[in-house]
């Protein structure tokens, strides 16, 4: 049967199992929207295309499925850019579909024309401009395959409106055939043996695991490696949940705002077992001084991540789950008793702490969210102090329970990502831990959440500052608070919530936090909680930029 290009696209999405699209209409996607009108794919109309990209990203991170967003040409497409870049940095499977002006107008500076394949080339895993309707089904098939395999990432398909309108027989290809793309999943057996021996021979091993463990669904294998061999585990921001924070081998996060004991452990270690992590500069601090006594094993599916910043002794390129399984079968348990005792000493000496007085402090709010949900919630975060407190003080016990923009550090990410996460996991309690700065970057999505009945809970840690930047200004710029104070210029978040049809709450006392959280969780609506916190609370410990990671403020010097 002959179909229009628009229908071919929608049928292809159905073949890929797409259940929801986040998007926004416009001139050159009218044929697509006409098809969407009576197709059983859920469509979530956002209020800004950036929200669509972040929501698709949040959906993907919460479920492991490919998130799909859709926007029109020109400004619609460019509004997706921040969301695509965010997904790219954090290896999130996403397919972004944009409309494009008619093929014969491309390059003519037509109305709402932008070269979106050119613009997104460095921030997509791959992208396509569909030039012929005959290629369309194959391109969709390839796009989903590329997005979800290997190291996942966003793929953009730019579809001109005239191709949406042309007609062709629909044949969806059974498989893809790309000679230039063939990710390697099996780790090299010789390298795995070498790694197993290095672990067996180690005295002070540390597992340093990242988002790759979550993506590869390798949490079970990671837990086995750690617990069978008594190896402590530190996690990156994106790795949180891969190993339960409640376990005695858990060291929490490492790096700039990591725990003192994780950073000390890395610096004293004789073997770093890096799994699905990429030695980001926020993790390593001063690279030359990173883990000076350690051999490094690096398990990663992306060869470019290996020896990019830190030199690796035993690289193993492949899928974390498969490689960890092999490792588990080959490692002989090292004796780490003395090492664990040393770490226990650091844990006692340098715990994560904050002033436990009667003031309303942000760390307490996060702890109470943990108490109220016992690790069963999905915590999305914005970026800045709120993000770091959410990483430090909530105990993540399972994968996909924290959703945060780690690589790009995108303010305004958390709320739309929470919408996407809630759509993907409707039974989960989904929080957005926000700051009063970040939440205003995509606050328009309150309309999306309320009108689509997506009852996410927003906890604004409101200090009337762009807090993380203020913290740096306090510590490194002589308290010259240049353009970071929002006092008196923000809206009344309670009234704002109410005007969107959400529930607003303001919490100013420590004693009221728990009751408010319980009420918010029970409320079957979007809730905006405005926690008026201590204004100049800082995130500690902190490694100043460019320092070795044991040179922490408030973390004890090694």
């Amino acid at each position: 049967m002959k179909m229009t290009g628009a229908k071919i696209l929608i049928e292809s999405l159905k073949k890929e199992g797409v259940e929801v699209i986040f998007g926004y209409p416009g001139g050159v996607v009218l044929p697509l929207f006409d098809e969407l009108y009576d197709v059983p794919i859920r469509f979530i109309l956002v209020r800004h295309e950036q929200g669509a990209a972040h929501a698709a990203d949040g959906y993907a991170r919460a479920t492991g499925k490919v998130g799909v967003c859709l926007a029109t040409s020109g400004p619609g497409a460019t509004n997706l850019v921040t969301g695509i870049a965010t997904a790219y940095m954090d290896s999130v499977p996403m397919v972004a579909i944009t409309g494009q002006v008619k093929t014969f107008l491309i390059g003519n500076d037509a109305f709402q024309e932008a070269d979106i394949t050119g613009i997104t080339r460095p921030i997509t895993k791959h992208n396509y401009l569909v030039e012929d309707i005959k290629d369309l089904a194959r391109i969709v098939k390839e796009a989903f395959h590329i997005a979800r395999t290997g190291r996942p990432g966003p793929v953009l398909i730019d579809l001109p409106v005239d191709i949406q309108q042309q007609e062709l027989e629909f044949h969806y290809p059974e498989k893809v055939d790309m000679r230039g793309y063939n990710p390697n999943y099996e780790g090299h057996p010789g390298q795995i043996k070498r790694a197993a021996k290095a672990i067996s021979d180690s005295k002070r091993p540390v597992i340093y695991a990242g988002g790759g463990v979550i993506i590869s669904e390798a949490s079970g294998e990671l837990i086995e490696l750690a617990k069978n061999n008594n190896i402590p585990v530190t996690l990156t921001l994106l790795g949180m949940g891969a190993f339960p924070q409640t376990d005695k081998l858990a060291l929490g996060m490492l790096g700039m705002h990591g725990t003192a004991y994780a950073n000390h452990a890395i610096m004293e270690s004789d073997l770093i077992i890096a799994v699905g992590a990429r030695f980001d500069d926020r993790v390593t601090g001063k690279v030359d001084a990173f883990a000076p006594h350690a051999k490094v094993i690096h398990i990663d599916i992306d060869p470019t991540s290996v020896s990019k910043s830190v030199d690796v002794d035993i690289p193993i390129v492949g899928d974390a789950k498969r490689i960890l399984k092999e490792l588990n079968a080959n490692v002989k348990k090292p004796d780490t008793a003395a090492w664990l005792e040393q770490i226990e000493g650091w844990k006692k000496k340098f715990p994560l702490k904050y002033k436990d007085d009667d003031k309303l402090r942000p760390q307490y709010v996060i702890e109470q969210i943990w108490e109220a949900t016992k690790g069963e919630a999905i915590i999305c975060t914005e970026v800045g102090q709120n993000q770091m407190w959410a990483a430090q003080f909530y105990k993540y016990i399972k994968p996909r329970s924290i959703i945060s923009s780690g690589g790009l550090g995108t303010m305004g990410y958390g709320f739309p990502a929470a919408i996407g996460a809630k759509v993907g996991k409707p039974d989960a309690i989904v929080f957005d831990v926000a700051g009063d700065g970040s939440i205003q970057m995509n606050i328009q999505e309150l309309a999306t959440a309320v009108s689509n009945k997506i009852p996410v809970k927003i906890a604004i840690l409101n200090n009337c500052y762009l807090g993380m930047v203020r913290q740096w200004q306090e510590l490194f710029y002589k308290k010259r608070y240049s353009y970071t104070c929002l006092k008196g210029s923000s809206p009344d978040f309670v009234k704002l919530a109410e005007s969107y049809g959400a529930v607003g709450m303001r919490i100013t006392k420590k004693a009221d936090v728990r009751a408010a959280l319980d009420k918010a969780i029970k409320t079957d609506n979007v809730v905006v909680m405005d926690f008026v916190i201590e204004r100049e609370e800082n995130v500690f410990p902190m490694v100043p930029a460019g320092q070795a990671i044991n040179q922490m403020i408030e973390g004890g010097l090694a």
Partner: protein, 171 residues
């Protein structure tokens, strides 16, 4: 150190932009880049001359391989390949210098493609040393224009980068 890298890529719209964009975005050097269709019309071959330390070169090769449209990447080792570049140049001549210029061109095995009263246009092909000495030889006379194709390279021996058209097929 300078490296000569051959890259087989899909002969598709936008591939050159992906490669050059990768180099500029990540701050890698390109000394020269030459590209053209291969024996297989769906495949193009790029010869990229780049400079960097071993770690950088390793990253360049990995990053190139990561591109979906890149089929194969080979960093040629010294002595395992031949390289050539085509150059066109225009040199100034006067009645005084004409003879000397002609001798210089002849000594380098270069070809005259056009000779006027004030200029001579020259074509030459050769490896990097040959091209360099031609330019240096003619520079004192006044080089008015130099146009270079960029280096292309071919591995020595019976192996072929694409693995197609095996030599025994022709026997």
């Amino acid at each position: 150190m300078k490296h000569t890298i051959s890259v087989l890529v899909e002969n598709k719209f936008g591939v050159l932009a992906r490669i050059s964009g990768l180099f500029s975005a990540r701050g890698y050097n390109i000394d020269s880049l030459a590209v053209g269709m291969t024996e297989d019309p769906t495949v193009s071959r790029m010869t990229i001359v780049s400079e960097g330390d071993d770690k950088t070169l390793e990253q360049i090769k990995k990053q190139l391989n990561k591109l979906i449209d890149v089929i194969k990447v080979v960093d040629f080792k010294e002595g395992e390949f031949v390289d050539r570049e085509l150059i066109l140049l225009k040199v100034a001549v006067s009645s005084k210098t004409r003879k000397e210029v002609l001798e210089a061109i002849d000594s380098c095995g270069a070809k005259i493609v056009n000779a006027g009263s004030k200029t001579i246009s020259v074509e030459a092909a050769g490896d990097q040393n040959a091209i360099k000495s031609l330019i240096e030889l003619l520079r004192p006379f006044g080089l008015m224009e130099v146009v270079r194709t960029g280096r292309i390279a071919l591995e020595i021996g019976d192996k072929a980068l694409s693995g197609q058209g095996k030599p025994e097929a022709n026997e």
